[in-house]
Subunit: 366 residues, 2 copies
DNA sequence: CCACTATAGTTGTACGTACAAGTTGTATGA
DNA sequence: TCATACAACTTGTACGTACAACTATAGTGG
């Protein structure tokens, strides 16, 4: 038999562990004394002691001299439970991200979790670095805003490692196609559609679209932008659609806008749909620089309803982004995954158009 | 003797641990066999085994059947070292705080520390809650932006607890007078002075000052504001100095500004010094609402050189705040405190005036 | 009623023996 | 030269004894 090779104290240990599993031993309950066990199993007290001392080190038993041996909560997990959740965003200080973080932080704090923050600066190397650092010490779960998702993902291995380690995670804004996890995102395609449709409905036909192409948000907004034109039967002039990458964002769009706006009046776009509010404010600056008025000469629609939209000179018409709510929902879904092992489905937020002062209605002039 | 009460196996354990400390035992080195130790110390092999098995569980020794017992890396402390630093700010998403956090995060990440983030919402109860949560699990150090510092501090006990636990901390922006710790702050008095002096130098004499009174920053900026008037020999009309608390900030200042600006032209302030850019943008809105032009009719000076200052319609003249640099410095000073036990002195940043478009020079009209 | 004592029962410490199992080097033999 | 066997050593398992230290309780005495 193989049994003869397994040490008795190990056999006893397994026996006792099965007592925990079957519920025969409940937390706080007293375990038979060393001598009783020894007699019962036909072992010496020393052998029982060896078993007990291992189980004590592992947290299953508590031995009190003179009193007895007691079962502890099955695996001390509750008391030593790590309650720390990480959030990895592309940027920390800019734009809407602080609001997402704030929503998550408030929810986590109220649920007794600590929040670890890290930024990737939209850089794959830093993303890897952040992942390693976060997981270098105990972690309950992770909220990830992916980096440059339209391109590949060289850090896939690290994410798979998360799964192996049993660290649940979810993604916000977008997700890597290769990974299976819950996603919270805005319906960007619908947003792009609504933005363009609003302008078309207001009589604009020469609409410029500026979109980021190295993240899915930009790609989807562009998709909606095109769909709205198609639905209204308006052709999109390729030269009025400008796409750019993260590296170019401070330079290329502005120059392209200047060029478009410098053209002849009958060729000039009457409206701009901008990837986000930040870009919209920047391009409004380009228009002002050329002596054009907003919205009389050029209309603008932004995205995300950020602080910039209402702080700028001409209050910006824009599409909402759930921001704080998204952070809060992400946190609460992640906690559900951790504590109850649930696997929530994706969450899709519908952006709403917020009409302010940056769009003129061309129809009334007719 | 007391020695007789200390178990022999504990004495042996301490002896062996001292071998590690003295360097007598180096990683990988073979330890004398159980029998040798037993003979050498006049103990039974069983007693030596008890010591060895404890040291093995704690990671000091590695025992290999048939081969011997070996010393392991001296205490694995490096690998299990906690490298997590917390940062507690009043607000997370608003204004300049994301920039401070970003500076700190970048520095910490490059030094291999994780960043825990928590906000107090400028509320003493939440401050306590955050403190408790942060310290509920291992923490290396803490960066604190105090809550409502001009009032008392009911959470003093928790801060003293930090000292007892040996968790170093430092404060940014301001500090509780009762606590002795490094402080990084802007010279707000100088800032207030520079703001008022700039306006006075440009020929303004009826200058309104709006300051928060429940934090030291506001109090100090007001102090500088008054000092500049005194230095220039200009009297300050009490009705033009408005102070407010955090709770009132969205309401009272705006109404007061409307009232001041609605007065007769010869009584109306020609310029406003505002507690920060956020308030300045809000009060500029009040001026516009009354049909006044900025800066032609009313000039504005803000504080902090935030994104609002350059995103707003009229670009705001304001005073710089180190923001990102302050976060970075705070992080690096805290790491020095943790790793080298240093106690850095206070750091004072000098604000610089950034001239933009919101101040008119009245002298040229003369 | 309370304080004290004795006692039984528990785990902790300490020693002992015996043999099993694994590693290493040496001696032996083909 | 190479493979094998063996001896000597290591740690692992298992049992045994004895007493110390601690806890809880029942009984005793004031």
């Amino acid at each position: 038999m193989n049994n003869r090779r397994i040490p008795k104290y190990i056999l006893l240990k397994n026996e006792l562990l099965s007592w925990f599993e079957s519920g025969k031993l409940k937390p706080g309950q007293q375990v038979p004394s060393e001598n009783e066990i020894a007699e019962q199993f036909g072992l010496s007290r020393q052998t029982v002691r060896q078993t007990f001392s291992e189980l004590e080190k592992e947290g299953w038993l508590e031995r009190i001299q003179g009193k007895g041996t007691f079962a502890r909560f099955p695996g001390r997990r509750e008391s030593e439970l790590v309650k720390t959740i990480g959030i990895m965003t592309t940027y920390i200080s800019d734009y809407i991200f602080p609001h997402i973080v704030r929503g998550a932080e408030a929810e986590l704090r109220s649920r007794g979790y600590r929040l670890l923050l890290s930024s990737t600066d939209n850089n794959k190397d830093k993303e890897m670095e952040s992942l390693k650092l976060m997981t270098s010490q105990p972690l309950s779960g992770l909220i990830i805003e992916p980096t440059k998702s339209a391109e590949g993902n060289p850090n896939l291995g690290y994410y798979l490692e998360l799964q192996e380690k049993g660290i649940p995670y979810l993604m916000i804004n977008e997700k890597y196609r290769e990974l299976e996890c819950p996603l919270l995102r805005v319906d960007d395609e619908l947003g792009g559609y609504k933005a363009a449709d609003h302008l078309l409905a207001n009589g604009h036909s020469r609409i410029a679209g500026f979109f980021k192409r190295d993240d899915l948000q930009g790609v989807n907004r562009l998709k909606g932008f095109l769909a709205a034109h198609k639905a209204r039967g308006v052709a999109v002039a390729p030269k009025r659609v400008v796409t750019y990458t993260t590296e170019q964002k401070n330079d290329l769009p502005f120059r392209q806008a200047l060029q478009l706006l410098s053209g002849a009046a009958e060729e000039r776009p009457t409206a701009f749909v901008c990837y986000n509010d930040e870009l919209a404010v920047s391009l409004m600056g380009a228009a002002l620089q050329l002596g054009l008025r907003v919205p009389e000469d050029v209309s603008f629609v932004g995205f995300d309803d950020s602080m910039l939209a209402s702080a700028s000179g001409t209050k910006l018409t824009t599409l909402t982004h759930p921001k704080t709510a998204m952070g809060r929902d992400a946190a609460s879904q992640l906690i559900a995954m951790i504590e109850e092992g649930l696997a929530p489905g994706d969450t899709l937020y519908e952006p709403e158009l917020v009409e302010r002062d940056s769009v003129v209605n061309l129809n009334v002039n007719v």
